[in-house]
Structures are given as C-alpha cells and as structure tokens.
Subunit: 348 residues, 4 copies
C-alpha cells in the first residue's frame, strides 16, 4: 500500500505552539512541511528563531498567503481574531483548516464577543466548524474541514470530567477547578511575570474568576451534562516549562463508591490510546506526560466530605495544543490516529 | 534599660525547621544560643551539616538532656511522639517549651491517636498547652509555658479564613483548600519523590483527603465558627525551595460585596505586623513573602458562581515554622513581638 | 525488502540510563524488546518504577540471566565491575554486547584498577572490545561484538577537541576542561547533594582533579594526538535535569584564524548527522540538544590571550549514554545509523 | 553613646541592584532612607514595583535631583555613563557617593571608552575616586568620597586570586576564569534569553572573550601582581536567581604544596568577616552564601597537571553589588564594617 503524504502548512510558526507543531510534523510519517509563516519574522529561518532546529528544518518563514496556498492542510496558531479570514480561504479551496487559537472554540458568537472583544465575522463558518476534543468528538472531526482545537486548560478539565458527568456520578452544576500550568502556556512574548528572576521560585494564581478558558470549559461540560454547568476556575502559573495539572473538585452523587467510579472511567477510556486512567492509589503527575500526547487521570475520594477529586495531567504544548491538533488532523484525514504523536514520555 | 538576654536551646537542630530556627535565633537581639541537640548527629558541628553557618555558628550538637538543661527557653523540632517527655521536663523546671512538631497541636487525644498512631501520655500537659497561632491566640500565648506551634499549611489556611468565618462572610461548614508547598516542607530526609531529577519540572498533589494537617485545620476553623467545620484539603508538592500558597474556595453569604469583605479583612488585621491584606486586584505570590515572617492574603470573587476565593502566601520555613515559633517566644517572654523576625522579603 | 527486527535486552533497566534506553528502544523500528532486568526490582513492572511508561511498556523486570538469554543484542547499564561476566557470556554466544558502564572504556587494565579499584578479569575480552565514540571509531564499531559506550563527559569533550587536535590547530598537551552536568548524570540513587532543596538554586564543582572520566578523556585525546595529552578536568553539578556543557580552553597554534578553524570543524563533521558545528557567533546551549542525540559545538577566540574556546553541548542521557549506545548498535548491526534516534530537540 | 543616623538616597532604586540596596538599607541601624529615585517609574511607589516591600517601605520614587539633595550618602545604580554628573554634584556638596555602575571602576579613561563607548567627562573625579573592593582597599576607602563599587564577577575573581598573586604562589600572567552567574545578574530588563521558558533548564556561556568585566578584572589583578595580567574570561548564565561561582585555573609555582597555600589564604583573610576560606576538601557552593555578604573560597590542586584551582562563591546581589556597597559605606563613614550586612545565609 502506498503511503499517503499531505502537504501541510503552519501559520504562526514562530510562536511556541507553532514551533511545537513544526517539531511534531517534522517526524510525522504522512506529512511534508509545505510552508511555515510568521508575520513578525518573515524572511528569517525558523532555525534562527529556534536553534534546536538547525540542520533539521531551516525553512524560511513566508507570508500567510503562501502558507495557505501551499498546504492541503493548514494549521494556524495566532492571537484571537486572526483566524477567521484564513478559515474562509481554506474553506473556499476545500483545504482542511485546524485552528489552535480561540476563534473556533465557542459556539455562541456573543460569548466570544464578551470574552474576546471581537466578533464572529462569518457565522456560517462557525456553524460548520467542529470542536476538536479528539476523544469525545471523533465522529464529527472525521467529517470536519474546520476544526477549533481546544484550549490547554479546557482539554485537561473536559477529559477529567467527561465520564463523571456522562454517567451521573457527580452533581453536574458547579465544579471547583484549580489548575496549574507551566510557563510555556504564557507564550513567547516577554512579560515581567515570566522574566526568569520573577517567575523562578515564585508561584501564584492569576486571572481569578475571569480567565478566557472559563466559557469554553463551561460550554463543553454543559454539553456533557445536557444542562448548564458553571465552574469556579482558578489557574496558577507554575515555574516549570511544560505541563498542566488540573485538580477538580466535584460533589459525588450518593451511591457511587470510588472503585465503581474508577471502573466507569476505565471503561469509558478503554480504547483511547492517549487517556490513561491510573490505578487507584496513584496520583497524576505532569512529569509522567511531559513531551507526550497523554492525558493521565487519577481519581480520589475525600470520604469525610464525600467529594470526588479528579486530577488530570497533560503536556500543555502537546495534548494541550500541537499534539491534539495533529491527532485531529489524523482523524480528519483518515490516518492512523496515533501517527506521528505516539511519543513515549521520558522516565526522567 | 538593660536588654534582657535569654538562654535558648534547640532540640532537633539538624532538621530543616531546626536549622532555620538556629538562623533566626543567631540574629535575635534577646537570645543567646545555649545548646543545639540532634540524635543523629551528636558530636558534630552544626556547620558541618550546614556549611552556610561556617564561622558564624559552629556549635557542637549535644544531647537532648543537655539542651533542656541549658535553656531557659527550649524549642523542639522533632518527629511526632517525641516531644511529650521534653515538655514534661521543661514544665517541671518552669522553662518555656515551644514545640514545632505535632504533639501539642490537637486538643483531642483521640484525634491525635487516630491520625498519628500514638497516644497523649500526659493529658494534663496538653490541657495546659496553647495553640501558637500568634495573631489569634496572643492573649493565651502570653501566659503559656507549653506552646504547640501550628503546622505550615494550617497557618496559611487559618489566617486566610479567620476574618471570613469570624464575621459570617461565608458559609462556614465546608471549604475547599487547594494548597501548594515548596519542597523544604518535606524535610531533610531523602525520598525518591524529592530527588532532584524526579521533583524538578514535576508537579502533583499528594496525600489527597488524608493529610495529617486536616484535623488541625478543622479544629481551628471550628473554633472560629463555634461549630464543626469540614474541609476538603489537597496539598501539592511545588518544585521550589520555600513557600506555601493556599487557594481557599468559600461560598459567600449573600449581601457581602468584595469591597466590604476586603474592608473587614483590612480592619481585622490592621494592627498585625505580619499579616498583609493586599489591595484588591493584587494576587498573593509566595515570592513576596520568601525569607520573611509575613502572611500575604489576597481576596477574589467569582461573580458568576458567587464564590469567595482567598489566596494566602507564607514562607513555610518562617511563618510556617521557625519564624512563628520565635514570634510565640517573643509574646510569651514579653519581648517586642517582632524582635529578630522583622525580615524584609527580598524583591527578587 | 523485509524489515529486520532484532531481539534486544536491557540489563540494569531500572537505572536512569537503562530507563532512557528503554524509551528509545520502544520506538526503534528494528527492535523488539526481549527482556528488561534489574537486580533490585526483579519481579516488578518497569511501569511501576517509571509511571511515564504505563500502558506503553509494562514488562516485568527479570533476571540478568534471562535478559542475556533472550537478547540478540544485550545492553548493560550497571555499576562498574559487573559487566565483564555478562560480556563473557554474550561473547561465547555470539551476541552483540554494548556496555553503558565503565568496564570497557579504558584500554589499560592498570589504569582501570587505579581509578575504579577493580581488575580486568578477562583481558582478551578487553582486547576485542571497541570504544564506542560513534563518529570517530565507526569502522571499528562495525566489526565489534563488545562495545564500551563512552562516558557522558568524555563524549562531549572528545567531539569538541577531535578536529582541533587532529589538524594541529592547538597545542595538544594540556587542556582546561570546565564541564557542567544536569542532575540525571548523578543517577537514581538518593544523596543529600541531589535532594531537591539542597540541589535547587545551588551550584558547585565536585570531584575536582579526580573525576573518573579524566583518564578516559586523556586516553581518547592522546589517541587523537598520537602523544600523551593531559587535562585539568573540573565537573560541576548543574540544577537542571538533563544536559552537559563542556567549556574547553586550548592554546591556539599560531597561524590559524577562527574562520579557518571553523571551516575545518565544519569539514570534519560535514557528513555527521549528530554533530552540529554552529555558525560563528552562535553559542552552544544545552537547551538546543535536550531530548536529542545531537552534539552542538561552538567555536570562540579570545584574541588578547590567543585562546581557542570550544563549547560543546549534549544531552547526557541521549548522546551521553542511551542515544549513542543505540547509535553504536545501529552501526554494528548494519542498520541506518540514525534509526530510532532521529529526535528533533524541542524548541522550548 | 548616641547612635549616628545618616540620610541615605538610592538613585536607580527600581533596578534589581537598587532594590536590593533598599532592602539592606531598610534594616541598617545607622541609616534613614532619605529618598529613592527612578527615571522610568517616578511617581510610583517602590512597593508597586516590588510588592515584597508592601507595608514596609512604600516610598514614592522621586527625581534624581531630589535624591541627591536629600542624601548625605548617595548610592547610584544606573546604566554606564549616567553616574558622572551625579558624582560631580555630590562632590561639590561634600556628600559620599557610591556608584554601583561601571563609571568609576576603570582607572584608564581610554579603556573605559574602548569597552563602554563613552568618555570620562571629569577626569579629576576619577582620580579622586577609589575602587571599592572592601577587603583590599579598606584604607583608601576610609578616606574616599567617591567609590566605584566593583562588578560582581570582578569581586569574585579578585578575592579568589589576591592571596595567590600577592604571595607569588602562582604564575601571575595568564589565568583562565570560568564564571557562572544567576539570572538576577542580567537585571530587570526583559530579554528572550531571560524569558523563563528559554532560560529554565538551559545553560550556556555568553560574551566569550568580550565581557566588559574583563578589563576591570585585569586591572585589579595587575595591581596585585605589579605587572600586567591577562585573563581568559568566560561567563555563563546559570538558571538560578542569585549567586556566582568562579572557577579559576592557575599555574602553580613549584615549591608550594596545597596545605601551605591553604595556610596562606587563611592567614590573609583571618580578620576578614566576609571572606571564608573553606577547610581543605570542602567545595564552595553558591547555596552557602546566598542572601549574605560572604565570599566563600575553596582551594584545590590537580596534582598531575600542577594546576591550582580556586573556586569562589558570592551572592551577586549582595557581596557582588548592594552588600559590598553598604560595606564600603560603613568603612567610609567610620561605622562598624558589618553593620546592617551581617546576614546569616540560610541553611536551605
């Protein structure tokens, strides 16, 4: 059988998520890198920006237009508001478009406007687009031409809660989500807060009660519950490079023991290569998923308060961004879902 | 006026909390270090264990007996179960005894037995002992001869919730406490989990729903509330040396706005040198309290879920252990409460 | 053409280098993992030791004997002194044996005894063995059945100096080598020095003038020079997980400009996939080789002292251990030299 | 006896060295903070910039003019070229001026111009100024009104080599200096290189053979030697907040054993509170001097190459900047030299 090779472009390759996408695509068996684009660094080599790519990929960063033109598949990793025009062009030319930004995650244009301060320009595109939470919306993704890749926090929270909500194990109205993310999540832009001496040996929450991932998480959980779900979401900046831990607090419905809950989680994800429900007693650690596309989930019970505590761990750059984007591409193109992302996370 | 100088001993000086106590006491204007003891390192110099003390304090580690004998004030920083005999001897000789371990924190002997697997041998000592949460129990501490110094997590949580519970700002029955502690909190003993390559660039919760500080926190909060309080407590190991952040989630009672709550917090702590209620909009960061005896508290509201989120930051080794112990000594001896612990936390 | 698959065993799979070898071999296209062994953890699953491997490789750790028997290729990653018997057995059965330990690195048995305190038991095995510095001794490795994989520091230093010595660019008698290694280099064993709170935010040299890699480096450089070379070697413990930077100071021979030297380095390594001679002006950084088999080399001149400064960067766990071991296996088995180790180092 | 209190101003208080100076001065028994100035942040509170100072020092940042006017002692911590005018004004008004920048370190105006690209405007001021390496130039500092505080690297190197050069223990013409500095040394300005995700888990040298501290170090060593000394100086960026390790390689003069050398070092510094010559066998570690004004020095011999290796450790922000500046102030004002800087470095 002949191996299919697709021409793939990355728009916004100079950012962290874009650069990680390049890394993954370079080793993908069914991909040829067609073009990389960047507004700020057009004309420079990606290897000048990221010397780790020297002698591996020294492609010159080109314009967005060129990237769209050359790719059968087009990924974009851009600040919000900039992906809609690209989606339109891709749509017109029948290309597969996968957006790592925020423009195709929210179903409701008003919610988007409220949280991001911009508008949905082409509502019909948003209606055609699919939310790319691979494990849950696989069937829709298979048929999609525009995929909104989930945010990093939303991925970690949705996978953590899906079996619990779906199976009525918890009261599905109000969750506490205490998340901690490595600093790559804040991106390549320089800020005082991510300046090494102020970030190292430091720790604190940020955007308490107003992080933009809040409506995205609530939208997904509400779908699971078939009723409105609210969350209290507090993200923290963790002084490590990669990884997210979400510690989720839920009110258990009576009648479910932790072994039964564990069994249901195992059953739910038994055919999912990238979700690992840990043995009872183990605790998810971002260390064990680093540099991989895995989402590790551990389950815990606080008996005296009858809370169910779900801990999920992902690599924010892989399962939380570039890895899941490639997983979605694999699904949409009918490739082996694990192609190019079957990384073994390092032991140390 | 003549300056009073007290002879002070530290039992368990070879552990991290003990060593930090030595550092603080060395610069205390009213203290002369009488003796340092250690079971494991008797006969060695403290500077051999901790070369940062070379040419500053090279005292030989002696026996517990000698330490008790030589001190007017005796601190102990020992594994649980070992402080009661020392307390007895100090009590018989009229010395001030301050325990940094867990033996004099819980009022109820049965709770102690349940969580620590040992018994209260001298119930009368426990009745005389005072729980050394300096800001709250100052009047009792003034008269105390046996002080149980609070645990690090309990200090951060109790100060965070005291004004809210005391003033009925929140529903005081059930709190979610998501805490993150630097690795010194795990002590000097070598473990796989605190081995650098397995701890660095890692993050995860531990002891979920069963950490020994849980009953201590519940005891204190129940006192504040005059009714039983339960918490769901999840500590996390943070890859930094020092500091604790506790993110506390509470159900706001209706009718209290965040400005009013902030005002009440400010009022409550207005005369407390070591508690800083941050301006609304600021977020507590462990970076800003490192190497100091401060507890920083920031207040946040999640409007759409009407949760009050309280973030508190302490240095686990100072306000969470040695610093508060010295603060308690100062109170009990009638010294200036800030003597020797008025550290300015470094800007970077 | 049919793909060749080899049965491969790892002895000492529970250590860090062994575990990293497992990670690499799991994705190697020509390898089937035959057996993993460990003395300390026999009977346990490798995934219990390293939960990052859960659901990927849960092989039970078996005895050394079983590992030897089942493998066509046998890797050992053991404390010194334990590999010779294994080499003998492999040799008798015609298996390829690759030793990641120190037993087959030194040519001279007396030097081995002097530095390691043990003896060469089977001198004939040592005569047949080949020093596995892949780029330099490729032709010998092709024919070898026993390969002594170089130490991490020696790899970084030998590749840094090979072109300079070979081409007479520097005075080849006396070099200063100031190396810095991440903490995985110290292995899995717990020590006070690698306890997180004592290692984090710390930095210092160790084993000054007496590190066991000294004779190994001198042996290799002397071969390059065809005359005795001495080095002053000072390793430092760097508070990062992975990576080695060696800063090498050499006395330039007159008549060579830095451009010419750079040209010679480029020429020397032009066909080497895993050695990257950086453009003049760039500086090697361990960040850019992390998780890869690359050795990055940058060249610098101090004009006013006419010193040539060569900086080399490797990932101590990959090119400095498991990666180079697999590279050697590939060479010895006649496979594509880059098979299974063609990792793209992450940009961030 | 009445305690003397001096009015002290800090110009450039918003930078890292300035902020550290503020921290130290706040606890100094003989200092009242007269004014803090900043060009970029005039009108803001220092506590807005550095929230660790909240409720301790919330002084508003004023103009340079006001700072000069209000202080009896004026410190400046500014980019090079900006201190000369301030020195002039202080000089005219008889104030003590201590410059933490580079404008008063080099004796030779041409060297300054060559390395810093600016000129010495008032040569007579430079002639009156004293190089503030406290331990070595104490007698000159006592009489000085303008003090050029040494750079961080130069402090660590000069103290490391002074006894060796002074006593002819080493060939004093050519030294290799391999230094590693924590990231606060790079200052508060945002750069890609000091952005957390690119700095953390990274390591590399920089400014090889062209760092501006080179001529300063050579000037000082040449004074010690009474003849020209050259160094090959390679600084490295170390992913920790604070601290410098300099590993210095010297050619031992024959006839000196390491014990004798150690004895001479001990003797040289026996009355120096802030220089600790470690016992033979110990190794200087930046961990042990962090947050203190100590310089730790350890001595090592590589017998087979007859090299003397000297390792020195300082906190770049304290002994390498603000601490030594205060030490110089104490000397110049006739105060106890250790006043306000007698910090005990933390054990952990």
């Amino acid at each position: 059988m002949e191996k299919k090779i697709f021409e793939v472009s990355v728009i916004g390759a100079s950012g962290y998520a874009g650069a990680e996408l390049v890394r993954i695509l370079l080793s993908h068996p069914n991909v040829h890198l067609a073009a990389l684009s960047s507004v700020s660094y057009t004309g420079q080599s990606i290897a000048d920006l990221y010397p780790s790519y020297r002698e591996i990929c020294e492609k010159t960063l080109v314009s967005e237009e060129e990237a769209v033109e050359k790719g059968d598949v087009v990924f974009a990793s851009l600040p919000h508001g900039l992906s809609q025009e690209i989606a339109l062009r891709c749509s017109e030319k029948g290309k597969l478009f996968i957006d790592l930004g925020a423009d195709f995650r929210l179903e409701n244009g008003e919610t988007y406007t409220q949280w991001y301060g911009k508008d949905y320009i082409y509502p019909e595109l948003h209606e055609k687009s699919v939310y790319g939470l691979s494990e849950i919306y696989r069937e829709d993704i298979k048929k999609a031409k525009i995929i909104g890749n989930p945010g990093c926090y939303p991925t970690s929270v949705a996978l953590a809660l899906y079996p619990a909500i779906k199976n009525g194990l918890v009261k599905a109205d109000d969750f506490i989500v205490d998340s901690k993310s490595g600093v790559t999540g804040a991106g390549k832009s320089l800020t005082q807060k991510t300046h090494f001496p102020e970030c190292n040996e430091a720790f604190s929450p940020y955007s308490i009660g107003k992080h933009r991932h809040t409506p995205e998480i609530e939208q997904t959980l509400s779908h699971f519950a078939h009723s409105p779900v609210r969350i209290t979401f507090v993200p923290h900046l963790l002084p490590v490079n990669r990884g997210i831990i979400s510690t989720v607090y839920a009110e258990k419905n009576s009648g479910f023991g932790i072994e039964e809950i564990h069994g249901i989680y195992r059953k739910t994800y038994e055919n999912e290569r990238f979700v690992r429900v840990l043995p009872l007693g183990d605790v998810a650690n971002l260390k064990n998923v680093k540099m991989s596309n895995f989402c590790d989930i551990s389950l815990h019970e606080d008996i005296h308060t009858s809370k169910l505590i779900i801990v999920s761990a992902i690599d924010n750059m892989v399962k939380g961004a570039a890895g899941q984007a490639v997983q979605n591409m694999n699904i949409a193109l009918g490739l082996d879902e694990t192609a190019g992302i079957n990384f073994v996370p390092p032991a140390i």
